[in-house]
Amino acid sequence: MDLAYEPRHDAFRQEVRGFLERHRDRWPTGAGAPRTAVLAWQKLLIERGYAACAIPRAYGGHGGEADILEGRIIAEEFIRARAPGPLAGQGISMLVPTLLEVGSEEQKRRWIGPTLAGEIVWCQGYSEPEAGSDLAALQTRADEDGDDFLINGQKIWTSTAAQADMMFCLVRTEADAPRHGGISYLIFSMKTPGVEVRPLKTMTGHAEFNEVFFTDVRVPKSQVVGARGAGWAVANATLKHERGMLGDPGAAEARLAAIVDLMGEAVGGGERTIDNPALRDRLMALQGRVLAMKFNALRLLSAQLAGEPAGLAGLVVKLQGCELNHQLAALAIDVLGERGVLYGGGGERSGAGEAWQQRYMFDLGLIIGGGTAQIQKNIIAERGLGLPREPKPAQG
């Protein structure tokens, strides 16, 4: 890990700080910010190199070189200013890295740019009712029909399917191949006839997920990403990116900063929760954890740039990061006290309670989704520590 600041980094920090101050009126803040403002902000961040920095210009990125310390300074300054960061989501965090890795030149040129710009929203079609932790058991079929595939089946836990323009999807293209060998990675429009989205309401009271049904959905064979039948390997590359996204310490850092603000506010009788030693101790314990995950992320970045394997440091990110976010939300609810239960009443009054309760519940979904905590522990133990796999039960 080589992380020495040079004088140019101070100058860079001032530059980021100045940029954020100068453009404060252009921040798309809050959930209700107009889409045009969100896209304009993203465009500005890419031009500036604060988003998609290392992605080639030909594919709609900034076309610069990733600098670990500059990346860190950008993240820190956005959090410090409480400024809205670059767009995230499954298209940018999962599909784009996958296309960069295995996509054809035509696919890269066509899809990466509009995805980075926020013009195309993607959803992920992996899980099925009978293929959760055992993803390779998926049954959605894509049968050959001339130059096309005809897709039939069902996906579940598809976040943003209702808003998404496109889906990247795992389907079974080779009926006779062994279960890992018969899968292909397809991309197609959500407007294709035969695609039906049904919202799936969760414990939060909202439909953050959907079920998606396919009836004779026609997709050209040219929309396979990677080789036909190699979808399992392509998906694993994508899942790696998802696990990185789900455990991203930037989110934990931003939450910690928000809780510090919350704890410093005077509530009834002028008391501040930061003065409560038990709550303050929890805050500090979580700060220690946030720092560990933040420096772990720097270590990963540094290993990536040096072309070294991430090893255990990478395998633990999803498990630890999601748990940390969950604990941060739990602290925020406790800091709010009775106000922490306000939910669904609308207006300013229920604001903070509702937001943290929603995160607290949704985080549980993230601990389960993208490979459950228990699957993560299997991966850490088997791939990271070399422990033996569970023997397959004897047949019959």
């Binding site: 020495a4 995950m293 420096f295």
Partner: protein
Amino acid sequence: MMQASLDGALARLCPLERVRAFADGGATFADDIWRGLAELGLPGLLIGEAHGGLGLGLLDAALAAETLGRHVAPTPFLASAVLAPLAISAAGSAEQQAAWLPRFAAGAALAALAIGEAVAGSGGEAGVTASGGRLTGVSAFVIDAAGAEVFIVADRAGGLHLVTAGAPGLSVVPLATIDRTRSLGELRLADTPAEPIGEGRNAEGALTRLRDAAWILLAADMLGASGAMLDQAVAYAKERRQFGRPIGSFQAVKHLCAEMAAELEPCRALVWYAAHAFDAIPEEASLMAVHAKAHLSEVSRFIARTAVEVHGGIGFTDLQGLHYWFKRAGLDRQLLGGPERLRHLAAKMQGFA
């Protein structure tokens, strides 16, 4: 590279039988191990080349501390090889530097550190008062006490002093702790003559630097000890068979190992960063040091008990020897402030308390 050669040397110098012989034997100092470390230049790690040292930084010292913790090495290190040299290099007079640093670097003089009360608060009446060049009082939990020729002592006001062994009114009582691989003692001073360190310079700043370095090295020691416990648990889970298969193939056992690894792995970067901050980003150093020590204390306690559990009954025996690491981490946790106290200090440093 330094870490790899130290690792190799310690594998030769103190295999488990040597650790056991030291811990059971009642000796207070292992000359063979110290000599071996001195040959590698370990005591002069932080001492400038002009005084015969290697002139390296705290990051190198932290890597060494991790390796010593990994081998539960029964040897002075924290005070003799790092903190005393650091105190005298940073704040000592030219005479003090000339008198002590070359001898420290050669491993020819051992030094102890008595800053517990100033850093971690005193229990009861412990604490040292300075007046007219003389010290009076008690300092408990003095690090690397056995065989020390010189003591670096912090007084109640945060000033640092140098006291030589044999000074009038000075006595050192050994303290038996759970961890027999390190030497702790109680220092009693009665109108004992002492030289100030950093007179006319920022003595409080010197104590802060010593404290930060100590926290980082204790965290690094726990990192090494915890890593060793995890490795032993994983190796045992692969080899031990019950119900006709390795116990590590059962998720109940496998997941304990995964949880240990998941807690420990991010700690590496935290310790490295804290040490790097000490060397290069002074404004971040104290907060990173206090968090590294507090967080590693929690993680290593979890790993110490979980690694024993993964071993089952054998882990609980003296023969297996896992308890040396368990106790090493147990001492590290309590020395110079436990996690609750440290988190309170972390809050104070940020203006939250």
